[in-house]
Subunit: 488 residues, 2 copies
């Protein structure tokens, strides 16, 4: 279904005339490193955002909780508001290792396409020159999650320039430590509960559908994690002198991990799936309508055989248990002929609705204990090592539960209409994102419908090297927020 | 059995008077970085060694093969020589990552004991002050393998100062790329075969017995290795958006490795042990006499349960298959919520006599193929990934076979006598070292008895961080080479 909409055409025209300015401001924003561990960098981002929004008439208030990245609260009040929309985005990013990137993560570059498709770095176009929507901007957080900031401010510029009426009160909350697990969000929301009240919460984060079709999501998987360190000799030993006698911790760890998940990707930890309800009829219907792109993605990512027998959207309604990192002695240039002293695996678990993070971690620990491991919380001393042939240090990342919101409330329907208007077509409705977002913290305090409004292309290399955004997706964001802010 | 020997007492006295000079020269030598990948560093070592030996009357000839580290040949001819002894040592070292060391690997420091035993850094003693033989010198290659250079030159100084007669012609070969697998040693030996002829070869490398008792060894395990890289999606994927659907290469790799060796350390690759002969009666007798320190080592290294049911020396007469490195996504500070694009394990295999390196690697490959993996030699393109759910890139390190020499030849007996004289007690006789040395290259060209004369303490952290030598072991080396050079 194609929508015809003059406002969207007007936004397109506006973008044509102002693309260079939008991209320049966005590049300036992307040039500020934003890993939550660097307080100084984070503060520079906050100052930039404050200026960016105040220029557009949004009142900004920066809250500094002890040891937390600044929370940036914004408010834009209008007379006779029909409702209050609360928008969330985060300005911090994942760490970036420049040696793995094709260009500096903190020096945004335009490429004429993805690197995989031979896209080449090019200069900013001349004013008036056409900008191909398939061009990309490469930089850390280009998609996750700085793009919505620029889409929102460009939407406000368009609305102001055309003297259009904003129909809802707008509230914004910008977080600076989402990528490290939002350790202070709950506290902030509780402290400011009264002023944060709204009719709905729009989460501005995540990618659109893999086909490029715009989408909305109505939930996100929860998160839990653990680091498992297994021990060998109390120092690295020469693998010649002691190989075949001194136990190798990587060998013990791979057998432990192999016992947790079979090669086909089925999690074999007892009780892991106990709380998961089977999908209800409505969910099954939504999944049926949802465009399945498993085959396209397999081709795109070079995957011959995904885990499990279901398609992607079905798999995301189930929990995952992923070895995100494994390190036991070096490979490549730094390889050494040693039996390493320890080996560590880092596991991230994605939870679905009803699973309790803490109980899930307990079950994983129980499994590890069942494999004969003595569980410790600190590195064991030599005496402890002498007495236990299998020791696992477990560091728990307690995480948070999944959230899923109803898809047929008036608030949800209002957002769906705005997205369809901006997209000019039907949007895909995803019952839950695969990724984890701290929605539960909002859910606990605000208790309103929560809908995700992603704008980033799915192939944005989020969290990895060479993160990017497709410029056409940034433009979709401008239209989306315009439609939302002036929607009846 | 304690030997009484006035020469050894004289050497002790000599060391008392000259310890400072010996340690100072040694420290200068240790201050020169020596990883074979740095041509410039390696050349600086060669210049230092040339000077060091020419000062003692050894004629030095440096051979530069194309792209090889310099081979340093030394000759010390005497009238009426009873025999010719050929001595080998290497001057290159393993890579060292300073961030893992307690002191700079290239700035030698004296400690009053091992770091584990609370040894503290101290300054050089005043002249005349006693030097505790339990003090350590910490630096890369302090044991492996720069110690013999200093022990030999100090022995020559003692002999010269006392006008003692050297009874054998001495030939030396010093190699600068042992730690990277001696890629040019065979070529050098073949080219210079005629001038290298000798009655026996003394390999000056490796550690003494774990009890501290001096030992000789009569062979070394061979070596082969392989790097296995297993593939997931063609780029890192976000573990939330794709976790539970995109296959994780670490998961595939751990299952593959788990199929190669059980948690108890038993290698389960078909045919791996096919060429190994059972031990003969003589070997069994030697093993029985050999001091078993498995219990001491278990205590020392904090090991509750070694691999296999036998003691260490028995285990070294069997091949090993060790996961020396495993890397699949980062852990710790650099952890990312991704499904990595690939995971790599580096395996080193220690071979025993009769095992062919290449055939052994073939068997490992056959096993990997049997686990359903499509084997490639280069990183696969997306098209290849689309067609094979399990792909393993295998990089073979062909290595070399094991060597073992007879322990009752006159040449072997001559060396045993010299070692007993230096030690003042019975020395332990080890049929084979666990570690690999390029003895086969000598064996092929020279065909003479090969005996290993180690001087380093066993807890020298060879190849790892905080490598060190116990000063008393350096003094044993001086006595050993003195006894060898003036032995009847």
């Amino acid at each position: 279904m194609k929508h015809n909409n003059s406002i969207v055409n007007d936004v397109d025209k506006y973008i044509s005339g102002h693309a260079l300015d939008i991209i320049r401001e966005f590049s300036g924003f992307l040039s500020i490193p934003n890993h939550a561990s660097s307080t100084e960098d984070i503060k520079r981002n906050a100052v930039f955002i404050k200026e960016m929004f105040e220029t557009r008439g949004v009142e900004i208030e920066i809250s500094e909780l002890p040891a937390a990245a600044p929370f940036i609260y914004g408010e834009y009040k209008v007379p006779d508001a029909k409702r209050t929309i609360f928008l969330y985005a985060h300005y911090d990013g994942q760490p970036a290792n420049p040696s793995q990137w094709n260009s500096d993560p903190w020096k945004p570059v335009i490429r004429t396409n993805t690197i995989e498709n031979g896209g080449e770095v090019r200069s900013l176009p001349e004013r008036g020159e056409d900008i191909d929507p398939d061009w990309r901007i490469y930089a850390r957080s280009a998609s996750d999650d700085k793009a919505p900031f620029t889409a929102i401010t460009a939407a406000l510029d368009f609305i102001h320039e055309n003297n259009l009426p904003i129909t809802s009160n707008l509230k914004f909350i910008f977080e600076g430590e989402e990528e490290i697990g939002s350790p202070h969000l709950s506290e902030y929301l509780r402290l400011h509960k009264d002023k944060l009240q709204a009719d709905m919460l729009a989460i501005c984060d995540g990618p659109v559908h893999q086909s490029g079709q715009p989408q909305l999501y109505f939930g996100a998987r929860g998160y839990a994690g653990l680091d498992i360190t297994v021990y060998g000799p109390n120092r690295h030993l020469h693998s010649g002198h002691y190989g075949n006698w001194a136990p190798n911790p990587s060998l013990l760890l791979i057998h432990l991990l192999a016992s947790m998940k079979d090669p086909g990707g089925n999690i074999t930890i007892e009780g892991f799936h106990d709380e998961i309800n089977p999908l209800n009829e409505e969910e099954l219907k939504i999944i049926e309508q949802y465009p399945d792109t498993s085959d396209i993605l397999k081709k795109e990512f070079g995957i011959a055989q995904p885990e499990g027998d279901q398609n992607l959207v079905e798999r995301l309604l189930l929990p995952s248990c992923n070895i995100r990192g494994f390190n036991g002695g070096a490979v490549g240039k730094h390889v050494q002929n040693i039996i390493p002293s320890s080996a560590t695996a880092s596991i991230d678990i994605r939870l679905v609705k009803k699973m309790d993070p803490s109980r899930t971690l307990d079950r994983v620990e129980e499994h590890i204990r069942g494999q004969g491991f003595h569980i410790v919380r600190e590195d064991p001393d030599t005496e402890t090592r002498r007495h236990h042939s299998r020791i696992a240090k477990i560091v728990r990342h307690e995480g948070y539960p999944a959230v899923r919101t109803k898809m047929d409330s008036p608030e949800a329907m209002f957002i769906i209409r705005a997205a369809e208007q901006a997209a000019g077509e039907t949007v895909a409705l995803l019952p839950t994102m695969g990724a984890s977002l701290p929605l539960y913290q909002f859910d606990e305090v605000l208790n309103v419908p929560i809908v995700g409004l992603p704008i980033a292309n799915y192939d944005n290399n989020q969290h990895g090297p060479d993160e990017n955004i497709r410029i056409g997706n940034l433009w979709y964001g401008v239209k989306l927020f315009t439609a939302l802010f002036i929607g009846k």
